[in-house]
Amino acid sequence: MASQYRMNLMVCTGTGCVSNKSLNIIDALNREIEANGLAEEVQVIPTGCNGFCANGPIIVVHPEEIFYQLVSEEDIPLLVEEHLLKGRPVQKLMYTPPETKNPVPTMSEIGFFKKQMLIVLSNRGIIDPENIDEYIARGGYKGAAKALTEMTPEQIIEEIKASGLRGRGGAGFPTGKKWEFCRNAKGDEKYIICNCDEGDPGAFMDRSVMESDPHEVLEGMVIGARAIGAKHGFIYLRDEYPLALERVLKAIDQATEYGLLGEDILGTGFDFTISVNRGAGAFVCGEETSLIGSLEGMVPEPRTRPPYPAVSGYKGSPTNINNVETWGNVPHIIARGAKWFSGIGTETSKGTKVFSLVGKVNNTGLVEVPMGIKLREIIYDIGGGIPDNKKLKAVQTGGPSGGCIPASLLDIPVDYESLKEIGSIMGSGGMIVMDEETCMVEVARYFLSFTLGESCGKCSPCREGTYHMHTILENITKGKGREEDIELLEKMGTLIKQTALCGLGNTAPNPVLTTIKHFRDEYEAHIRDKKCPAKVCKALITYTISKEKCTGCTLCAKNCPSKVITGERKAVHVIDQSGCIKCGICKSVCRFDAVEVE
């Protein structure tokens, strides 16, 4: 085998691209490369998620850094012949921004990547996550080596404190302080935990880090274990992430083989092992005390804090829990220094944040941006704006615990404090973009239906309170809202926030409270006028056919699943409202824009 390849083809094998058959693409590439006698010159490497998930499967060709997207198996013979053999990049597989007609050949020129700043995701798409040597070649485990050979545990903690790193799971507690509490807590056995029970709808930051760079998390944990004095760590991994599980298990094996985990790590006499625990699918396990309960083999239910896990956690021992992204930042801070890290971001929020950008935005995917970046930059410069030239209405951050930020506040900087000030939270990084066709009352109802279903049922305000709020919201979307319902939701929401036991209940009303705060007029339209301004709530809209526009082509009648559209050919058609299920199919099939919604 040649050790000197002239070309590397990085094929994304994150969950998104794998489900778009990127594994078949790898097979096809290897077949074609073999057939063209290029096997000694060109290497195909499976990598982790590249972030531009909407346009997968993705291949990046080095050294030219040519970015190919939406690649299918059929494109491979052409790609191999043109680019690999003849050196002519294939234009039709390149990214073409919607506003221009010119394809953009290289990755760094694409707007989606240009404004990003990578720390946690710095290895994405560049290394094979299943090969520890590739991680080491990019400076991996240097931070651990430094922490274990040159630093005392106290110095490590001081470094993390000085960096200003705060928890990336949502609450934003200073990581160094958290470590210090646990280090100073009394106890012979101490534990650290990596929380990878990512459960917010539309969020996949942790999954992607685990899939594309598992060693980064392991290295962070080794450093943390040394600082805290833990001999064992757990990774609590959502079971819906089979690929992350496979890769992290492989990574643990390779690291153990190299003596980077296990006994006498790097010959320094420090022992530390990691085991992986598969979660069974309860959102509440993202809450640290529930997660610990689940690790202990119990039903996941939160318990009162204090005592905090730092004092009494797993099996009553001092335990430190951090989220995947937080652990992922640690090796970089130790290797490059707190000063470097604290130079990025804002006064109170340092470093970068990974967001999964989803919803009504052109470029959906995973982005890492410096703290303090404006929401507008994320949505328009990176996200490429709203599809079909529609208007942006709101951005939801923080998942079911977060809130909706109206378009008028797009210029606020993204940091812990600013988001909190306007009623939302940083959260773990879900960012859902909503356009003018989104009904904010329905959004609030949706998020509440999620927390209602995920409430563990231990404490009464969360269990009963979310049920009542959901019922009230459902009534509003059905046109049965009462004038006092807005006040009722606000008062009940505030009381639930104050009285619930854990973070799930304390934040569950946020989507409702922020939509009332910023979109009260939509609630009022539903309640007073029995109208849904975004034309989403089925009970409040009617489909009619315009007498002027209808040509009597019969297409709507043919497609109506309820068979309630009648009319002779070439005559105006009519919808029988009593049987209409408001599915909207007639509107989508009409070629004359004759179906109107009111």
Binding site: A282, V284, V299, R303, T304, P306, P307, L452, G453, E454, S455, C456, G457, K458, C459, S460, P461, R463, E464, G465, T466, Y467, H468, T471, I472, E484, E487, L488, K491, M492, L495, Q498, T499, A500, L501
Partner: protein
């Protein structure tokens, strides 16, 4: 020994005492529902919430469950502040909406002024007059039965099943538990008398 300020007065108690025990000794009444002195604290019902702050901390007072909050020097506890009263009444109203004909809940509601207070409160009006019932049961999911069976008789014949509003107390697989010795402890501790003991054949 630790000293806390309870409703403005210093109260001394042994280390590791809960706010609830401390208050009971000082003759301050805090309502409870899921608490029993023989069992571990659960802090699920939230009716014993009190306002807790620390003299040395700038953090604003927080609502904490008296049944599981351990006292500490410089702890300031208020059991009758406006915030506590509002929270307490809200919890009782939620319970009353869940089981409107439970005697113990009605008594609690009466004691804390749920029936005599202002009637123009939208939350009260909704929960007492309009809200659909969550479930046709008087079980308040306090878990006393589950804990007595696990911690006192050590039979583990009862547990919670499913989550959220769907949650119920039941025996394994909803069948007569082979481990049940018919001691009746669960029925005895049940505050709403939802559990009955039947003679087996």
């Amino acid at each position: 020994m630790k000293t806390i300020i309870l409703n403005g007065n210093p109260v001394e108690a042994e280390e590791n005492t809960t706010v609830l025990t401390c208050a009971q000794k000082a003759g301050v009444r805090i309502p409870t529902l899921c608490y029993h002195k023989m069992l571990s604290a659960y802090s699920g019902c939230r009716v014993c919430l009190v306002e807790v702050s620390h003299r040395e901390s700038k953090a604003p007072p927080r609502l904490m469950p008296a049944c599981s909050t351990i006292i500490d020097d410089n702890m300031v506890v208020d059991t009758e502040s406006e915030t506590v009263k509002k929270a307490r009444v809200f919890i009782i109203e939620l319970m009353l909406s869940r089981c409107p004909d439970s005697e113990v809940i009605r008594r609690m509601a009466e004691e804390y002024g749920v029936f005599s207070g202002e009637n123009d409160d939208v939350v009260r009006d909704y929960l007492l007059n309009r809200a659909p019932r969550v479930k046709e049961t008087n079980c308040v999911l306090c878990g006393l039965c589950v804990r007595v069976c696990a911690e006192i008789t050590e039979r583990h014949a009862l547990s919670f099943e499913t989550r959220g509003v769907q949650r119920v107390v039941t025996s394994p697989f909803r069948k007569v538990a082979s481990k049940c010795i018919g001691c009746g402890s669960c029925a005895y501790v049940c505050p709403t008398k939802t559990i009955t003991v039947e003679e087996a054949e």
